[in-house]
Symmetry: D2
Subunit: 304 residues, 4 copies
Amino acid sequence: MTIHRFVPTVWYNTLGSHKPALTVASGDTVVTETVDAAGVDKDGVHRVAPPNPMNGPIFVEGAEPGDALRVSIDAMRPIRPTGWTRSVLAATVVDPASLRDLPRSEVVTWAIDINAQTVRLETPVKGLEHLVLPLEPMIGCFGVAPALRQAISTATSGEHGGNMDYRRFGPGTTVWFPVAAPGALFHVGDCHAVQGDGEIVGTGVETCFEVTLTLTVEKRRPLVWPRAETADDVIAIGNARPLDQALQHATTEMLNWLGSDYGLDRTAASHLMGQVVRYDVGNVFDPAYTVACRMPKKWLPPRE
Amino acid sequence: MTIHRFVPTVWYNTLGSHKPALTVASGDTVVTETVDAAGVDKDGVHRVAPPNPMNGPIFVEGAEPGDALRVSIDAMRPIRPTGWTRSVLAATVVDPASLRDLPRSEVVTWAIDINAQTVRLETPVKGLEHLVLPLEPMIGCFGVAPALRQAISTATSGEHGGNMDYRRFGPGTTVWFPVAAPGALFHVGDCHAVQGDGEIVGTGVETCFEVTLTLTVEKRRPLVWPRAETADDVIAIGNARPLDQALQHATTEMLNWLGSDYGLDRTAASHLMGQVVRYDVGNVFDPAYTVACRMPKKWLPPRE
Amino acid sequence: MTIHRFVPTVWYNTLGSHKPALTVASGDTVVTETVDAAGVDKDGVHRVAPPNPMNGPIFVEGAEPGDALRVSIDAMRPIRPTGWTRSVLAATVVDPASLRDLPRSEVVTWAIDINAQTVRLETPVKGLEHLVLPLEPMIGCFGVAPALRQAISTATSGEHGGNMDYRRFGPGTTVWFPVAAPGALFHVGDCHAVQGDGEIVGTGVETCFEVTLTLTVEKRRPLVWPRAETADDVIAIGNARPLDQALQHATTEMLNWLGSDYGLDRTAASHLMGQVVRYDVGNVFDPAYTVACRMPKKWLPPRE
Amino acid sequence: MTIHRFVPTVWYNTLGSHKPALTVASGDTVVTETVDAAGVDKDGVHRVAPPNPMNGPIFVEGAEPGDALRVSIDAMRPIRPTGWTRSVLAATVVDPASLRDLPRSEVVTWAIDINAQTVRLETPVKGLEHLVLPLEPMIGCFGVAPALRQAISTATSGEHGGNMDYRRFGPGTTVWFPVAAPGALFHVGDCHAVQGDGEIVGTGVETCFEVTLTLTVEKRRPLVWPRAETADDVIAIGNARPLDQALQHATTEMLNWLGSDYGLDRTAASHLMGQVVRYDVGNVFDPAYTVACRMPKKWLPPRE
């Protein structure tokens, strides 16, 4: 196993079949520093245009369509003492009739205390003077090249992953993406210091991280949608609009997963999901929304 | 404060301005036994037609439109050793193209061990032989008479509450409904022994409970949507289709709540919600879906 | 056949199982004057609170659940020289991000020239000085009592009809509603002098009409959704949100209709609908939206 | 003005910033033969994989982001005596609960009589023996390279156009696309001999055409969504899911158009649209749906 320290010189605003910036063997680890969603690096230098510039793509040897790319999020280390958010709820998450009553959204700076592992508004806001949030790092946008040699904006998401903004995509989580192009062509960027469900102000606390990832090819593992595993849960992702359709994708992916890996036929899987499933909401701000169908591992039968 | 033991003799399949079955003072407690969603009682006797027959309505003295009815769920005691579920995921929660691959849904019995406080399939299903779930009682359908003297089916939900199927509506939770008719006219029924998010097989474990509720009028408290509070969270509810709209209602209600009760202007509330909000999914099976916008109390400023 | 001249003294803001205001035999004709959506009559007198007060209900002898009520719209005669509209597009029909740029909506008066059969803004607006529209009368809200003894607001719609705001519901059109309560309990009101698709300012030109309707029971004709027939088309209606679901309801109703009445199996009906169907959009302003699935009669096989 | 006879040798399954296959001057005319949606040419030879292979891209000199590309559909001549459709309604257009009752969809051949300008099922289907439809040619999928150097599947649509499947995109219609890449990079393919609204069996009558188009750059004409003009109407397009959002995009685009080109402020435009607008439904089968907001030209003030 090799550890690659990957320093990008170009970034992409799409996930696509771009020229690989790095080639690794299956099982290798990559350490790389990301710029923020606006393309600003850890030194405050504006390196590239938004939205969500991606490091990559990384060609993983042996990955072919029909395989899965397993991405272990080994570590995320914050590398800038500031992050930023938008200041007002997005137009997509409040009743249309109430939109006029919202102030204009502005960019606001948050202080990140790397030693204390906390995040707070740089300039106090009335009523939130004492708000100090724990750092909860997560990757907002990552994934593989989509099928059909598409190149899809990092402002949205799909079967290939993309801008899902799901807070459980943090250190310790393993994610699988469906490989649709030779080498998988992995992209990563847009990391957040903390974020609520839905990314409902249109941002998390946007900042720069050093991300450590291990990329492994799992042959002939035909997922349709991204999947993940944490210490406690297995998770299937759906990306679409409206939320109803994202939920359908995630639920169908979980149903298939419980069948292929846990030996549950459709009735058994329905019984289990019906009484213990949990849904989480990723992005409800971008063109495609994200729903996670989450199953606590304690209720699963042994993997086959 | 009086405790009323309420034994219904008629049930309703709508929440509406029906003739009150019981009149109570604000602050009184009501103890009542519910039939299950199909209208079967604790003795297995079919008492009334589905869907979701309601005990009530209960007229709460002093409640007027513009007030809120606070409902404390003091206790829920299971009173039948069996419950039932549907056996297959609902057509609304999987990809349309996968529907043909699902078996027909059937009614399946679950055993409820009242002493052990557990729930399990009566007839074991392959792969789930060891599945024993903790009892997690919740009220599927409750609320007040809707505005305009409407009578709305207990198969759906709205500003008045109704069939929300949200698993945090259990013992220890306090719920507020917007009063839209004199006396509020509270209805309750359709309790579940346990249920996953979304009620995605179209049922929880449907059974009968003795429910203990305290009903209190809060004058001139103009909510639009139901609200709730648990030990850890405050929660705003939205009911609509698609899920996107339910989420908008819930988010807007939380925004207004943080303003009126916690002194957060729209920008401060946006900052807080943006980085710490949680969304839960209630029913995604009925004509209107349910989303809960949940805010951990530990992040809230003191109530004004 | 009898002609009833029906003068209401009470109006309802719901379609429901209210006490009948008139009882007629199947095949009888009713002539009645409607108030406008705000409850103002032909003399400018405010008679009843909004929304959309209904004349009725009319009990049609012999109608039972499982039957259809056929409503022939024989004539609509305008009886007030003014109507009114809202002045700005509704929040539901423009991009959320553009809502701030819209002025506040106001009520605006239109002049109705009953002799010339035209409609125009009473106070000219820059750029529309010469806009004179032909009178195109239509019924905005009508239908029967819903199932389960529900009473549903005239601000929305469902299987029972209600506030569909579909411009082809005018003179010469025949409409069928699914009977869900004894006597059908027909309601009518909310007529428009003219209206574009979608009722996108939240109103048509709201005014008063004398409406002539013939009400006939068709026994054992189990529709799910309203159906209609004009000189050129047969039409199936779906009411729901989002529009996608309304379209699904309407399309499924047409599919079933082509099977039961025209002998087309599901494949033949699919071929025909696939290449010649037309969709119209009713209300996209209210809680439930309306889609019409329209089939030109010239392509239909003979009725069986 | 030059007429180019363009014979493609490669086709694309995405609209994107691919290497131009042809460069033309603004105002030039292009005549080209398309393959069908499955990649089969006029001689029945399978030339390229689906979905919807595109001829192009055509680089139009002088086109820059911020301009519009005007595409006049001068002529469409059918060049194959057969087309094909799917045989059963798509899963997206019927109620989920009715999907089980549909047979499996198959591919069915239609005969195209080029002299008679008619289309009929090659093998008669019971009840449709006499169905002979007039040829109504239309372009299913066309548009320009999307922004951000995206490459987007021809199975879907967006601001750049794409797979809209709108039946008014036929001979005599002029369409404008927002230029997002130098040279606009126009693509075209997927033509239909006839198609109902919604493309609800997932296809029109898919066949090959010789298409004659005139491509003209209109400088500094910043549309967001495609626009069109026919003999009778001006039309704004929205592409999204759910249909509600597509309708919002189309309506907002029309609102802006009436302001910039016809001098109607937001109130005047609202009055006009509110009472005379028409909505048409394009594709309701693909990932993004299409709605057309259509305004009869007879009601428009003079163009400024």
